[in-house]
Symmetry: C3
Subunit: 232 residues, 3 copies
Amino acid sequence: MEPVGITLVKKELTVDHLVLILDLVGTFVFALSGAMAAVRRRLDLFGVLVLSFAAATFGGITRDLLIGAVPPAAINDWRYLAVSLLAGIITFFRHPTVNRLATRVLIFDAAGLGLFAVAGTHKALSYGLNPVMAALFGMVTGIGGGVARDVLLTEIPVVLRAELYALAALAGATVVVCGAALQFPSALVSVVGAAFCFGLRYMAIRNSWKLPVAGGHEEPTEETQGTRDVKK
Amino acid sequence: MEPVGITLVKKELTVDHLVLILDLVGTFVFALSGAMAAVRRRLDLFGVLVLSFAAATFGGITRDLLIGAVPPAAINDWRYLAVSLLAGIITFFRHPTVNRLATRVLIFDAAGLGLFAVAGTHKALSYGLNPVMAALFGMVTGIGGGVARDVLLTEIPVVLRAELYALAALAGATVVVCGAALQFPSALVSVVGAAFCFGLRYMAIRNSWKLPVAGGHEEPTEETQGTRDVKK
Amino acid sequence: MEPVGITLVKKELTVDHLVLILDLVGTFVFALSGAMAAVRRRLDLFGVLVLSFAAATFGGITRDLLIGAVPPAAINDWRYLAVSLLAGIITFFRHPTVNRLATRVLIFDAAGLGLFAVAGTHKALSYGLNPVMAALFGMVTGIGGGVARDVLLTEIPVVLRAELYALAALAGATVVVCGAALQFPSALVSVVGAAFCFGLRYMAIRNSWKLPVAGGHEEPTEETQGTRDVKK
């Protein structure tokens, strides 16, 4: 399949380069989050590395499988693996430090979410998906890794409950889709989309914004604990 | 790949149309079941919509990935998404009503199971799979969404324990496979297959039919609770 | 895609035959482990068969999806299904016997791990993946079934914590990759790789070798129970 819209791109930065850079930075950040969750549940070194890789790449692998980009980039390109393992090893040996930076990791995680959402949307568009589905794929790329991390640790995925998590990813992806439809430059659209997603998620964390729950009466149950763990 | 057996079909209803209609009705029903489970576990609005979509489409997506129909219909065709979201929104805002209708939802769920099993088998046959595997794919299409729903909510999938659930799907799929082998008209075979699956599941619910458990002595444990929750 | 390296193979045993034989024996052993776990959690006959099939084939199916070998061998070839069901039925009706042989099943499981790791690596190499990724795919083939089994039963996958489980698979896969690079005969390399993986895992079980856990102080928690269950 021939990527569409390649002509919109400035010479100095192709969509492919852009996707790669966004992806690798996002990979590192999400691998950190997977490794920290694994260390907390006392998995051994290997388990920590697997969780790093799963949290960092599951969203992208799902996207690539579904749009027919086989073998997925995260498997075909050693850099994703290397970046994931690096993040896992750092966390394993320096986890008190990483833990102390947990709030900052949450900020990084918001940044990673924006990067993945934007990169995923670009890739889906370049495979010819329609705008609505491309935005959804951006969201899946952003939240897939967190879902895999939590399912492997037998927790209800935080992204299904945390403060505007998936909605922020969807918002960033929507910016990219609209920008592409209006033929704005990809690099500009990417920056705006990622920043919008990041900003929304950041505000949601600071102000504990939440989506409504059906019924409304809020008794804290054991099941809402996952969300609280993340905020700590 | 060229669908086989297309010549068996009456002019007024192609296999493609049939699969689409069966699929969309089944999608709505399964999305309801996913949304209700999510509301019970107190997920927020977004979580409810994700569970709707996952429960409604995971079986079909798995089938399409495995038979090489990429991108899967549930992703390429906006109607699956629209129907899933509609069911999710209705459940979110009207869940006491939906809850009161829970028994009727179980009946709908049995209907959806029949529809998905039949649609999945047709699609697998049209991609040239052998009859045994086509029947299995019909079953996977029927039960996949329920498995995804339960795994995301960290419960042992009900379909692995409920009353003849997967077996009913397999029975409906087998009818389709046999009918296709005997070159009976697709529409007739579909109706009979879906009705057979539905009837079997309906009788199993009413009479609490169960498959045997190894060993046999039946002490009710915390682990059998999932099944009971569904029946309520 | 044209398998590469087919010329390295002796006439009497092609890589395809080798992969098939290794795969089927491994399938039987892993199906046993899935069925036993299902019987312990008191799933019904059907649930036991599903767990047999999932534990036996999920690793290979994941590998085939990711390298683009669609439809996956485990689905296209009835022998995988037949072998899985056979193991499931034997376990269901003879589970006290199988249970008494649990230690021996653990030995078989180690053998299956070696067989799958080697078979998976061969297949990935024959699809042209680079050596590092081929070794990783060998590991995924080996551990994937166990992950699926545990996630379906809502347990943290044992392979993320058990004694050198995944590392043994990776070691066996690495032998195959190195052997292929040095153009040694496939059959020889397979035997050495599988034996190395088996030996490593066997020693790890006997001596309770473990990888380090971050932090180090080892208090036994409810979460480490999965590992102990397996050793019993």
